[in-house]
């Protein structure tokens, strides 16, 4: 059971590596009351914009506010669903096309709680965390990412 009552860091510099995800999964092997894990991964897309093609996203954040907000979301989702574990990681700085920028990981005894909580976390993270993506183009310009 992991229900810490203080904000914890969610930011990692640069892309999130598949190896760190494997390590995070493996860390749960000792938690034998877990029956299901739900994971969401955000990956940077090579979108074609009018001004050029996206080759990377440069993420920035109002870190202090984002961590407080992430803590508030975390507590609300823990209160709403019977979860054993919850982990949130978001990139800062440059993440190239095809690399991972978001890793949300929930675990519960029965699958439904983990799945529903993971979906809700992703929606809230995108809507409520003061984080911005600057899409770097192959034309040396940039456009500011818009969440839909």
């Amino acid at each position: 059971m992991e229900k810490e009552r203080r904000p914890k860091n969610i930011f990692v510099q640069g892309p999130i590596s598949p190896e760190s995800i494997a390590k995070s999964i493996a860390n749960h092997g000792s938690k034998t009351d877990i029956g299901g894990h739900s994971i969401f991964l955000g990956q940077v897309r090579a979108d074609a914009k009018a001004e050029g093609n996206v080759i990377a996203i440069d993420y920035s954040a109002y870190e202090a506010m984002a961590l407080e907000k992430a803590f508030e979301i975390r507590e609300a989702v823990f209160a709403k669903y019977p979860l054993n574990c919850m982990h949130i990681y978001h990139s800062l700085g440059e993440v190239k096309v095809g690399e991972l920028c978001l890793f949300v990981f929930t675990s519960s005894k029965h699958r439904k709680a983990a799945m529903d909580a993971c979906d809700e976390l992703v929606e809230r993270i995108k809507a409520e965390l003061p984080v911005w993506g600057k899409e770097i183009l192959d034309t040396q310009g940039h456009v500011w990412k818009l969440n839909t």
Binding site: Y59, L129, P130, V131, W144
Partner: protein, 79 residues
């Protein structure tokens, strides 16, 4: 000696006004602050942004405490 307000700007807003950090003399509430900002940076009229006072989003007019940290936040686009 007047107290000050510390202002942080992010993303597209920082780009528009050409800075991501500044201090100004204290202003009493968020509506007056917005007015002052739009006079100082007319280019802000062309961008959508929200205000946070001490890391809390402002939805209606609100008093600004002394030495408050104000943030100018364009629409979030994390994930």
């Amino acid at each position: 000696m007047p107290t000050t307000i510390h202002i942080k700007a992010f993303g597209m807003v920082a780009e528009k006004i050409g800075t991501n950090e500044m201090s100004i003399d204290h202003i009493g509430d968020s509506v007056k602050l917005l007015d002052a900002l739009l006079v100082k940076f007319p280019e802000l009229k062309t961008v959508k942004f929200s205000l946070a006072i001490n890391k809390m989003l402002v939805s209606e007019n609100q008093k600004i405490p002394e030495n408050a940290e104000i943030a100018l936040l364009p629409p979030f686009s994390g994930g």
